[in-house]
């Protein structure tokens, strides 16, 4: 059995056992943007009502109102009560969560995020298929080394191990429900035919030298304020928000109120630094009026401000922005310009 079959193994176990089925919900960390499990695009947290006594406030704890049927009704299908189990959480996705943890779990802690984060079980595994659009190795991530997670698929033995108490309990629960799964899960094989053997990827030892990457890029960017790169990128950029919405580490949100006659709610929703009104203030002043200001800020945030604050890059090289950007903009251009990727062909001539 292949590693990727962990999803199948769990699904079979849940199928046989109604109790598990009711308790857990399997999510695919490869198909879904991992951040939406912890940080949904729209999250309601307060409702208010006008009564005879004045305005009353009611905190909403679980955020999501499910409206998938488009009827606009507040009927939920119970999915939000389930515990999410994220399978196929690859190193890039899990690394991206670190950025989220830094932002949302540092003081003051964000209770909405914390609750979801604590409830979710992450099954982390290595990544065996580097795609054309991937560049995780250029930002110092080893795709073959599973990181973090509550349950980890061990590449050296191929077995599945619980890492955190939560993960261990989860595995126990599965084995209790279905004894046969124990041997199945221990027998998951590591797919030996990997890019590593083909020599396409830096080995861990080579990557030791990458440890100071975040610092190096930070310093380089300190001297790139006037680079021609920002002109080229801002000319090409359309100013949509697709890169930020599909990025696993982008986490900016906007707080909005929605109200009808006597009732209303306060919610937060994803926002994008690429939108023209992102930094617009009350009174109409906008400190980032041009596309150039905005795209520069986006890259500086990821490769300079975050490393300064947290010694970590805000980019995990998953290539989602590259795939979705209608005009093919991605950090690759920046990394090339900084001499991190050698590719004479595509570098911008700064004559």
């Amino acid at each position: 059995m292949k590693l990727t079959d962990i999803k199948k193994v769990l699904e079979e176990a849940f199928e046989k056992n109604e109790k598990l089925e009711e308790k857990y919900n399997i999510c695919d960390g490869e198909k879904e943007n991992i951040k939406s499990f912890f940080f949904p695009q729209t999250e309601k947290y307060l409702e208010f009502k006008r009564t005879d006594k004045g305005t009353e406030f009611f905190p909403v704890n679980n955020g999501l109102v499910n409206d998938s049927d488009g009827t606009g009704s507040d009927e939920t299908d119970g999915a939000k009560e389930k515990i999410n189990v994220v399978v196929r959480a690859k190193p890039c996705s899990v690394e991206a969560l670190e950025v989220f943890d830094y932002v949302f779990l540092s003081e003051p802690v964000d209770p909405l995020y914390k609750e979801k984060r604590e409830k979710t079980i992450i099954i982390s595994s290595s990544c065996r298929e580097l795609k054309n659009s991937c560049f995780c190795t250029s930002v110092g991530i080893d795709p073959y080394k599973p990181v973090g997670g509550d349950v980890r698929i061990d590449d050296s033995t191929g077995g599945v191990v619980g890492v955190t108490p939560k993960g261990k309990d989860f595995l126990e629960e599965i084995f209790e429900a279905d004894e046969s799964k124990k041997s199945e899960i221990q027998k998951l094989e590591v797919d030996q035919e990997s890019d590593l053997e083909k020599g396409n990827v830096k080995t861990s030892t080579e990557r030791e030298a990458e440890k100071d990457l975040a610092n190096r890029l930070k310093d380089k960017l300190d001297n790139m304020q006037d680079s021609k790169l920002w002109d080229e990128l801002s000319l090409r950029c359309l100013g949509c928000g697709v890169c930020t919405y599909y990025c696993p580490s982008c986490h900016c949100f906007d707080v909005c109120d929605y109200y009808k006659k006597d009732t209303g709610s306060r919610y937060r929703a994803w926002d994008s630094c690429m939108f023209s009104e992102f930094t617009s203030m009350a009174g109409g002043h906008n400190p980032r009026p041009t596309k150039k200001d905005r795209i520069k800020n986006r890259f500086y945030h990821k490769f300079n401000y975050l490393p300064k604050l947290y010694e970590k890059l805000g980019c995990v090289g998953c290539g989602k922005c590259l795939v979705h950007c209608p005009v093919g903009i991605s950090p690759l251009t920046l990394l090339r310009e900084m001499g991190e990727i050698e590719d004479e062909d595509k570098s911008i001539s700064t004559s």
Binding site: G328, I329, S349
Partner: protein, 325 residues
Amino acid sequence: MPKTQLTKDKLQQKVKELLESEKIEAFVGYGEGDLSLKKIPLVITRPEDVSKLTFDQTSTPLLSRYLLDGELKDKKVGILLKGCDKRALDLFEKENRINKENIYTLGISCNGVISINKMSEYLNDPTEYELNFDGEKVKASSKTGEEVEFDYQDILSPHCHICQSPTPEDVDDLIENEASEALVPIKEDGIMDSIIELEKASKEEKYQYFIESLNRCRRCFACREACPVCNCPKCLFDIENPRFLDKSTEESAQHQYYHILRAFHVADRCVGCGECERACPEEIPFYLLHEKIKKDIDEMFGEKEDALSYAYPDDVEPFEEGGEA
């Protein structure tokens, strides 16, 4: 791809002449991107950079929109135009958005462009494949050695099937695309098959179809920004006080509001380039709304030349004093 190479050589030669003779200061064309399935908009200013220019069936973005603002606005610029891109430029000219004197139009006969969204009907992850165009067939090969073959017209952008002038008209110079034997038969009536299919469906079915797909919308606005003729200096959906569009993405009414309103705003201006369909990361078929409105306009009021009404850059902002919002 020798045929593509021929086209490329002609293009580079021509642009080199233009830049060397100082007829133009900059040229807007296509360059290689980081993904083989997507060529990127590229601006070059030096004759020695022409080798970066390329053109093939993956040159999807529209270039005319780049002439509207920024540093290209007042320069003498050459631009590579497919049929749809030229139609957009014509509209800009009518609306006094550009100074035609400054623009050298280099047309290229287009044989359609591919849509990665269409490819995903056949392939799990289209970006993992390199494409090899051979007449009416396309061979997709991945680096793991997997090969899939399909008809060119199956992965063509839906808009290219109904494009009435793939070769741009009234351009300063035209480059004949050598790889044009793959040209797909174009529907003379200019109506998408999917529109005809959808019209047969019941009211409830249509509603369900659109609601289900519109609910996937993340409101990233890629469709709006990629559209060459969505030109309002300040978009209605970007107005902050009052905010016309909620930021919440769980209200399907808001999705309907955005997409239907956008369709009404641009359907009459639409040049049928299909970039909105290709830009949508969720593969939402909102372009069918535009196409249906276009069809209705034609049926009710007769064929129109281009937009039903023009918007000029010096028009009063509808949301400002003296405007009519």
